[in-house]
C-alpha cells in the first residue's frame, strides 16, 4: 500500500473527497455572504439561518406536499429569497444610515429567532431526508466508495459558484453590482434603482444559502442548529479569502474544506481548530485576507 506520512494513500484520498464536499458548502455560503457584504456592507449573521431554512423548506415540501427533491432544489431557494427580501425591506433597510454593527446585531437576532422557532416546532434532533432515488447509489472508485449524491453535491455547488462568478465579472448586471459596491450614489445618478438592487442582492445571497441547505438536507440531518455552527466557520473562510472578494470566497472555501480533511487524517482533534488557526495566521501576515484589496 502506498503511504503518505504514514497514512495510506487510499485513506487520504477518500478523506480529501469528503473535504472537498464540505469545502463546496463553505464556498457556496461564503460566496453569498461576500456578495451581500460587498453591496450592503452588512455582515449577514442570518446566513446560517437561511441555509437551515432552505433545508427545512425542502423537508416540509417533500414530507407534506409531496414535492420531489428536484422541485425543492428550485422552490426552496426561492422561498428563502422571498424571506430575505421581506427581512431586507422591513428591517435591515432602516439601519443603512447607522453604524454597520447594528446590521450585524440585527441579523444575529433574526438568526436566533428563526433557529428558536424551528426548534420550537421540530425539536433539536434532526429530521431525516431521503436521497433522491436516482442518486442513491455508490461508485467504487477503487480507493473508496463514493456515494453518487456526494459527487452530485460537489459538482452542483461548484457549478453554481462558477455561474455566480461569471455573472458578477462579465455581465452588465454584474458591472452594476460592482459599481454599486464602489459608489451607490453614482448609480442612482445613472438611473439604477439602488434600493431594489440592494433587496435583490440580499435575496440572491439568501437563495444561495437556501440552495446549499437543500443540497445538505439528504446528507446531514435537517436540524435547527445545522446552520448556526457552520456560519462561524464560514466567517473564518470569508476573513481568510478577504471580504468582498468573490474569488477569495470560492478558493478559500474549497481550500479550507480540504485542509480540514487533511487535519482529520493526521491529527483528528485539530480538525475543528484548523479553519481558525489558518485565519489567525492569515490575519497576521495579510490583515486584509488572501484576496482582499483595500477597504
Amino acid at each position: 500500500m502506498t503511504m503518505i506520512f504514514g497514512v495510506p494513500l487510499v485513506a487520504l484520498a477518500s478523506q480529501l473527497v469528503i473535504g472537498l464536499f464540505n469545502g463546496a458548502f463553505y464556498a457556496l455560503l461564503s460566496l453569498g455572504l461576500g456578495v451581500i457584504f460587498g453591496l450592503l456592507r452588512v455582515v449577514n449573521f442570518t446566513h446560517g439561518a437561511f441555509y437551515t431554512v432552505g433545508a427545512f423548506a425542502a423537508f416540509l415540501l417533500t414530507s407534506y406536499a409531496g414535492f420531489s427533491f428536484w422541485a425543492c432544489l428550485l422552490i426552496a431557494p426561492l422561498i428563502v429569497a422571498a424571506l430575505a427580501a421581506v427581512l431586507e425591506r422591513t428591517l435591515l433597510r432602516k439601519l443603512y444610515g447607522l453604524d454597520a454593527l447594528y446590521g450585524l446585531l440585527l441579523t444575529f437576532g433574526i438568526a436566533l429567532l428563526i433557529e428558536g422557532l424551528l426548534q420550537f416546532y421540530f425539536g433539536v434532533a434532526g429530521q431525516p431526508y431521503q436521497v433522491p432515488d436516482i442518486l442513491s447509489g455508490t461508485s467504487n472508485l477503487g480507493f473508496m466508495f463514493l456515494p453518487h449524491y456526494r459527487a452530485f453535491a460537489i459538482a452542483t455547488s461548484l457549478l453554481l459558484c462558477l455561474l455566480t462568478w461569471l455573472i458578477i465579472e462579465y455581465t452588465s448586471l454584474g458591472a452594476k453590482l460592482r459599481a454599486a459596491t464602489e459608489n451607490s450614489r453614482l448609480l442612482e445618478v445613472f438611473g439604477v434603482n439602488v434600493p431594489l438592487l440592494l433587496t435583490c442582492t440580499y435575496a440572491f445571497g439568501g437563495a444561495l444559502a437556501g440552495f446549499a441547505g437543500v443540497v445538505a438536507a439528504p446528507v446531514f440531518q435537517v436540524s435547527p442548529l445545522m446552520g448556526a455552527n457552520l456560519i462561524i466557520v464560514v466567517f473564518a473562510v470569508v476573513i481568510i479569502g478577504g471580504l468582498g472578494s468573490i474569488t477569495g470566497a470560492i478558493v478559500s472555501g474549497l481550500m479550507l474544506g480540504t485542509l480540514e480533511a487533511l487535519a482529520k487524517v493526521y491529527w483528528p482533534p485539530s480538525a475543528n481548530l484548523v479553519p481558525f488557526l489558518i485565519m489567525a495566521v492569515v490575519l497576521f501576515l495579510r490583515p486584509r485576507g488572501l484576496f482582499g484589496k483595500g477597504e
Partner: protein, 399 residues
Amino acid sequence: MNNKWKTLLGAALLSTALPMAAVAQGGPLKILVLDDMSGIFAANGGPGTLLAVQMAVEDAGGKVLGRPIEIIQADHQNKPDVGSAQAQRYIQEQGVRAITLGGSSAVGLAAQARAAEAKVFTLASGAYAPNFSEAQCSPYGFQFAPSTQELSRAVTSRIVGEGKKTWYLIAADYVFGHTLIADASKSIQAAGGKVIGQTLHPLNSNDMASALLTAQGSGADVIGLANAGTDLETTVKQAGQFGVGGKLAAMMVYENNIEALTLAASKGMRMSVSTYWDLNDKTRTLAKRMMAKNGGKTPTMGHMGAYGAVTHYLEAVKAVGSDDPDKVAAKMRELPITTGIWENPRIQANGRVTYDMLLVEVKTPAESKGPNDLYKIVAKIPAEGLFRTAKESGCPHVK
C-alpha cells in the same frame, strides 16, 4: 416612548415577584421528570417518559399517604449546567422529592449530585453510564437502566465469538460514550478480540463520513458504535452510503431508532436490552396502554423503566408511612419490585437495580407481524455475573 417605558416597568416589577423557596410540608408530593424533551434523545425518553410517570402516578391512585402527587417536567436540553441548575431550583423552590433522570448521562450525574445534597431521590430510568450507581452514587439514587457494561458485554462477546476480532469504535464524546468505550474494550479483550482504534465525536453531530472512512481505513473487522439517539441513526445511515453498513455493531439501540431506520435497514442487528414490550403479559398490558396514548409508538426500555421506577418509589413511601428519605431509601432496597417489567429484579446496596438482560435481534420485515413487532428475543442473560456487585461498584456509600 410611553409604551416602551410601561413595558419595561412591567418587566421590572415582575422580576421582583420571583417565588421564594417554599417547601410546603404536607402539601403535594412532587416528582420532577428531568429529561431531554426535544433533543436527540427525546424519542428514547422525553415525552414518553413523562407519560410513563403520569401512568405510574395514576395507577397509584394519584395520591400517596393522603397527599396528592404532582408531576413537574423540565427539559435539560442535554446540557449539564442547565440540568444541574434546574434540579437545584426545583428542589429549593418547589420542594421536589424525587427526580427521574433520562437523556444525557452527563446531565443526570450533575443533577444527581445536587439531589444527593438535598436528600432527594434520583431514579435513573433512562441514563446508562455506570457512574450513577458506582463512583458517583447517591444514598438516594437508584439506577433502573442497565449500564454500558451490561449493554456492551452480550453484543461484543457474541460477535467476537463469531471470529470478528478487530474492532474500531466510534463514540459520542461524553460520559456515556467514554464508559461505553471502556466497557466494550474490556469485554472485547475478555472475549479474545482487540480494539485497534477509536474516534470521538461531539453530541448531535451531523456528519460521520470522516469517522466512518477512518474506521474503514483501519481495516477493522467490526465498526462498533458507542453512541445513541439520532447520532446513532446518522452513523448507520451514512455507513450504508459509504458501503460499510455490513461492518456495524451497535451497543445502544432503542425501538425508536429501529423505527426511524426501518426494519429493512437494520434487520439482523443484535443488542441487549433490560426489557422489551413483548416480553410477558404485564409488559404487554402496560405497553398497549402506552401505545394507546402516544399514537402507537413502541415504548422503549427507558419508558417502561420510568414506570417501574416511580411505582417502586411510591410503594416504598406508602410502606414507610412518610417521605422520610433515609427510611424510604432503606425500604426501596428491601421491598421486592413487583411491576413485572423486569425478570428477577433486585436492588443492590449501591442503588443498582439488577435483572436478567435480554439479547434481541431485529426482525426482518417478513418476520414482523405489525408495526410494533421489532425484536425476537435470542437469549436471556442471567443477572448473576453480568452486573457488578455493590462491592465491585466502588460506590463510596457502600461499606
